[in-house]
Structures are given as C-alpha cells and as structure tokens.
Symmetry: C2
Subunit: 171 residues, 2 copies
C-alpha cells in the first residue's frame, strides 16, 4: 500500500504483485480532511481514514513518501504528521514500513528522478496495463510509491534468490 | 497537561490550578524513545507513553509547543510527529488542545519571550512555590507550557466573567 502523505489530500493506493508478473492495481483513492476543522480533528479523521484503508486491504507492506526539504515549514508539519500516522498504523500491525523520496518513486516507474506528474501517470498506467492513468489523479503518486516498494522488494527477492542459487552451486 | 514534543525526549507535565490560587505541580517527566529503534516503532512507543500520561491524569486541556522554524528539517519532522501524536490523543478524548510557541511560554512565566532555560526554570519554581526548578530538567518547558495554558485559560475566564458581570449590570 502506497501512501502519499498530506493533511488536505492523502493519496492511498493498493497494488498487488509478485516477481515476474505484471503488478495489478487493486484500489486507489484519497483521504481528505477539511481545512476548516481544528488541526487535531483533521489528524484524527486522517487516522480513521487510513485505518479503514489498512483494515480493508491488510497490505503486506507500507510504502510512504519521505518528507522532503522542498516544502515550506507549514506544509512540512502537516505532511510529517500525516506520514507519522501512516507509520504508526504500520507499527501497530507490525507491517513493514519503507520510506521513499519522490525522486526514488519517479525513477522507479519512469527511469528518471526528474519526471513530471504526467510522465509518472503515463508510466504507471503502462506498468499496470491500464488504458489511462489511475484516478483520482491525487492518488497517482501513491500508486507509484506502491510500485516502487513492490519492485524494490522484487529486486531484493531476486538478489536473495541469486545468492541462494550461488550457495547451492557452491555446496 | 503540557507537552514539549520530541522523539528522543518528550517532556510532559501536569499542573493543577484555578483562578486566584497558586498553581500546583502534580507530575513532571519525560517519555523517551531509543534512537536505534525503527522510526515507526519510536512513534508507537511515544504514543503509548503519552497515552499512559493522559490516562493517568485525565487532564482538562493539552498545551503543546507549536513547531517552530528554528529547527532543521530532520528535527522538524520528528517534533511535528510527536506534537501530532499528542494532538491525536487530545482529539480522541475530545480534550481541548492549544498550541503555544516557545516565546509565548517563556513570556507567560518570565515576562520575556527571550528568557533562557535557567530563567524559565527559576520562574517556574517561584510560580509553583518550589525550592528548586522541577526535575527532570527536560520537563521544565512542559511545565511552562502547562502554566501558560492555565493562565491563558484564567485570563479568558476572567474576561468571560467580566463580560457576564457587565451584562448583568446592563440587564
């Protein structure tokens, strides 16, 4: 499950896959909290929304965007707190949590860490075998984060498999 | 209950008071999380620790330090998340949450927003009628935050009382 943290719009996406198969998009969406609510109730609403997503899909791992220096202090605070809530949910269920920078997610799906939003959407659609980028558009980054995690997992699996194969040859 | 948010050391203090009486220190302490733990488990441990404090004292209000621009990005992330966890606990129990900047807390207890740590400790001890600044020293800022909230609440109460008295006179 990928999470693009935010207080006003928090993108969420669930992607399924295994080594050697095309990843499949299971669900994509956004948890919204109203900017007119007191800050602490926005955090509570976000926690409820992300918990519903978690409980609905029971993901094997959480891939969360790492908070990055390009934001201003006010948005860093909200983004950090949203990411923190997603991390808390992972820790509560002992589900592995990985953080990826926006550049890592872009590079994973497009080959370039500087790709724009449109390019990310196009490549995400191609990878998933969809005619169009996933909707809502707010969720595209969360889809990219989920694919990044899946593929990084695959790479590690393949590496682990290669190591295991080499060991079998040696012994 | 005052909370000086932090991931490595989160100061907590419970102060009791009512208009016209000297505030009393009920408890002060620190919730610590090990820097060697995965980040998401530090957040979970902090949530457990702050929940224990909340459940132990059932405070009428939470006074949390507002995240401020003087920190670097890495510490802003941890401080924001720690503050967010304290805010979440407040929202879960429908307990009022107020944020105060470090300057506001310093000004409330010393009269100056630029007071140093020692001065804050000295004044906090004087206000509470203690021979020495409250220990642990990490909790001094949390004590100042709790007093700030208490006094701001008093000011509002006095203002509300004055308004009510004026209305009674008019009618």
């Amino acid at each position: 499950m990928g999470v693009d943290p935010g207080l006003t719009r928090c993108g969420v996406a669930v992607v399924e896959g295994r080594p050697g198969a095309r990843p499949a998009l299971i669900a994509a969406g956004v948890v919204r909290t109203g900017p007119d609510m007191p800050h602490e109730y926005r955090l509570l609403r976000l926690e409820e929304g992300l918990t519903e997503w978690y409980d609905g899909y029971r993901p094997e791992a959480l891939s969360i965007e790492r908070v990055f220096a390009q934001h201003n202090l006010h948005s860093v605070t909200g983004i950090s707190q949203a990411a923190g809530i997603a991390m808390l949910i992972g820790a509560r269920h002992a589900t592995p949590v990985e953080l990826h920078t926006p550049s890592e997610a872009k590079a994973a799906v497009t080959g370039s860490g500087h790709a724009d939003k449109k390019q990310v959407g196009t490549m995400v659609a191609r990878i998933l075998g969809l005619a169009e980028p996933p909707r809502p558009i707010d969720a595209a980054d969360a889809v990219a984060l989920a694919i990044t995690q899946l593929w990084r997992g695959e790479v590690e699996n393949k590496y682990a498999q290669a190591v295991a194969a080499a060991r079998r040859k040696v012994s």
